[in-house]
Amino acid sequence: MFKPTLECLNADVTTWEIGPYYSALPGPMKLKLRLDGEIIISGQVETGFLHRGLEKAFELNSWNSSIIYADHLDSEGAVFGELAVCLAAEEIAGISPPPRAQAIRLILSELTRISCHLNYAVKIGRAVGSETFTHYVLRDREKLLDLFELLTGARFSLSFLRFGGVKADVTEGFIERVIETCDLLRVRLKEYNDLLTFNQVFLKRTSGVGQISKEQVMRWGITGPNARASGVSFDIRKTHPYSEFEKVDFHVPVSNSKGTHGGDAHDRFLIRLLEIEQSLEMLKVFADKIPSGPFLETKSGSDFKVPRGEGWIRIESSRGFLGCYLMSDGGLSPSRVQFRTPTSSNLLVIPEVVVGLKIEDLPLVLASLDLNIAEADR
């Protein structure tokens, strides 16, 4: 196995523009490639095909609806958007959610992380053409979606968090189901490893492909599992704990593979499986110890207002550092909401990471970066 080098085939240089709807791409975006034979010598990204005017929509709606719009920031991990907006509004208004609400938020956030990482595994399985794996993961993801449904009544757009707490208390039997699912997933993780992670063909396809160095991580501000796969240990849950993450004992898996293979597609895949495992540990310990008490500070009506002020909140979404800048002028709707999404920095590295790749590896590398175009375009 060797690092893909920029071989010079001296073939005619071709330009190939793919997108916005192309199966190699993780979502609607355009990629302008220059090819030398089968090898990519440069690539440029154009996004904006999914720009929905989300940030403007916040400003046109009431405070309560902003939770619904926050769902649509990142549809797979709806909770992260909600959590960011809620934390920012709570910081401005000085509301502190009761401990029970914090615990429910934490559980929901970790469940969402697992669900997003499973979705990532599905994308990887698709990119390497391993359909069986894809279906097994989809089956297990249904278990998590069932949990969301049990707790919130919805599978994707949860709109469950409220300013100062959560919408409802945990449903009867929810905690037991969470622990049950955790046990199941632990078994499944081993199955995934048998089926794909350490499969020789998969190793050959992924190791040494699409490497991101530590310097690139720092230069482009890549965060989350992608950064940790390159050996940069940065996790908002540790540096800026929110929602009582400081009270939970967990460690953040960081890839320690050195040498020629550091930060490749396989590392990025593996680190997500490790994170799933870590989240399972966390849930298993934490789910039993939900403090009793109220789950919502005060019920906020349609005339809910946040006092004048601004807040900047960082949370660790499944893809990395999700920031939310919220400004309120004391009116009925937010004055300005702006998100700093992990995908928009991940997109920046594409022109560098695709250089020297064979076009067969392009879907795999793009999938391994875990891009969510909806989140980047907003």
Partner: protein, 165 residues
């Protein structure tokens, strides 16, 4: 590094750039208000000074408040992830001018590379022309549909639905 020491360094590197400092919102983060015309000098200092090395621009947000655009740069250091600072400044817009008139701001996307998409967005949605920026001056749209005029995130008559805000 103490904040006062930092300010004195800023004053030495870019005289007149520093305006005042304040708390950011309700948090314990310091924000330094700057004259945005000199942001490049400050940025070069903060990014490259070995004692400071705020080398990661984690976010750049623009907000339209009253008749000014408030630009906030959230900075952070990779070496010490707990070290962070926000730089702020405002650009006053001329009310008498046309609403699709662009305002100008020096680009810092060559100093903090992460600023590239943020500047692109700000230039299209807020109508800020970034001087010296790589891609935002062409005038063609990459987020908004072709033939769009006006800047949707400014608080003016903006949208196709003609809704006043």
């Amino acid at each position: 590094m103490e904040i006062l020491e930092l300010i004195s360094k800023i004053n030495a590197a870019a005289p007149g750039a520093y305006l005042h400092k304040s708390r950011f919102g309700g948090s314990d983060q310091t924000s330094v208000w700057l004259d945005l015309r000199k942001i490049r000098d400050v940025a070069l200092l903060l990014c490259n000074d070995p004692m400071i090395r705020l080398d990661w621009l984690e976010n750049m947000s623009v907000a339209h408040v009253d008749d000014a655009l408030v630009v906030t740069y959230f900075l952070r250091s990779w070496n010490d992830p707990r070290l962070n600072l926000s730089l702020r400044g405002s650009i006053v817009m001329d009310r008498k001018k046309e609403q699709d008139d662009r305002v100008e701001l020096p680009s810092i996307s060559d100093i903090w590379l992460t600023a590239t998409p943020m500047e692109l967005e700000a230039s299209e949605l807020f109508g800020i022309r970034f001087l010296g920026g790589s891609q935002s001056n062409s005038g063609s749209h990459s987020i908004l549909p072709e033939g769009w005029s006006g800047f949707p995130l400014r608080k003016m008559r903006h949208s196709r639905g003609n809704k006043d805000v």
